[in-house]
Amino acid sequence: MTEHDHDHARTFQPDHAEPTSEAAQLGLALRELLLEAGHYSVEEEQTMIAAMQGASPENGAKIVAQAWTNAPYKARLLDNGANAIRELGFDLDPFEFTVMDNSKNIHNVIVCTLCSCYPRSLLGMSPAWYKSSSYRARIVREPRAVLTEFGVSLSDDIDVRVHDSTAELRYMVLPQRPAGTDGWSQDQLAALVTRDSLIGVQRELGTASTVGD
């Protein structure tokens, strides 16, 4: 023991642990085999990691702002989301990107009950609750109760549509444009759009604190 121990104790942060579980070892071994067999290269892996790290809900917000301000674009987006986001420089290949339009009488919400499918290379990592077994089990069975817990209370004249992402489609909700935003720029509008509204666990978007940001 030395007199420095206290300082060390205050500043000490453990390293990331070496993988010890069988599953983690298996993952590492599989990666090395795939690289060795030439299924992909280290460079391609780095490119993919960089692309994943660049993904965030802001990409979705840009798409939403474009749809809010450009009716023909909105129509193309709802008709074929994969093609429409390519116009803005985004690509979700090989998945079919599918956009669900909220309206006065319809509220959409997204889930993957089987695992946790999410348009990750566009919107970034999904939130932890999206992957929880509780959300996945309950949002299909009692969506109105779950939405209430998220702060979304739906009147009886609003129909709920739950979209279970079980296969090759990846979903995003197109929230409604808030009132009082006439004449706003696309950047101003995009700043209103939240990750949760793109999943469908938020319905109303605020307009208070974003102008001029």
Partner: protein
């Protein structure tokens, strides 16, 4: 790939079977009747991907099922819907 077997709006039943291997139909949807909401193109068969290349591919549909048909004592109206992606080989015409 041939033309879609099912058409928009057609009533279909999701087949109730449980292969021992990976498949993409959750238990709650098996045996349920809905309508074809969207025809979604042709994709590799997830049940074949585990031992190869996903061949032959399968056409994918979105099936719309009223929530009140899925759940007893559902806490919402008859227009609340569950939309789910189902491959063609899991669908049959409902009478």
């Amino acid at each position: 790939m041939s033309e879609p077997v099912f058409t928009l709006g057609q009533r279909v039943r999701i087949i109730d079977r449980t292969p021992s291997t990976h498949h993409r139909v959750p238990a709650y949807a098996k045996g349920q009747v809905g309508t074809i909401e969207r025809i979604c193109g042709v994709h590799g068969d997830p049940e074949k991907f585990i031992r190869g290349s996903g061949q032959p591919p399968q056409r994918l549909y979105r099936v719309r099922i009223p929530q009140t048909m899925l759940w007893e004592a559902y806490d919402g109206g008859p227009n609340d819907m569950l939309d789910i992606e189902i491959f063609e080989n899991w669908l049959e015409l409902a009478t």
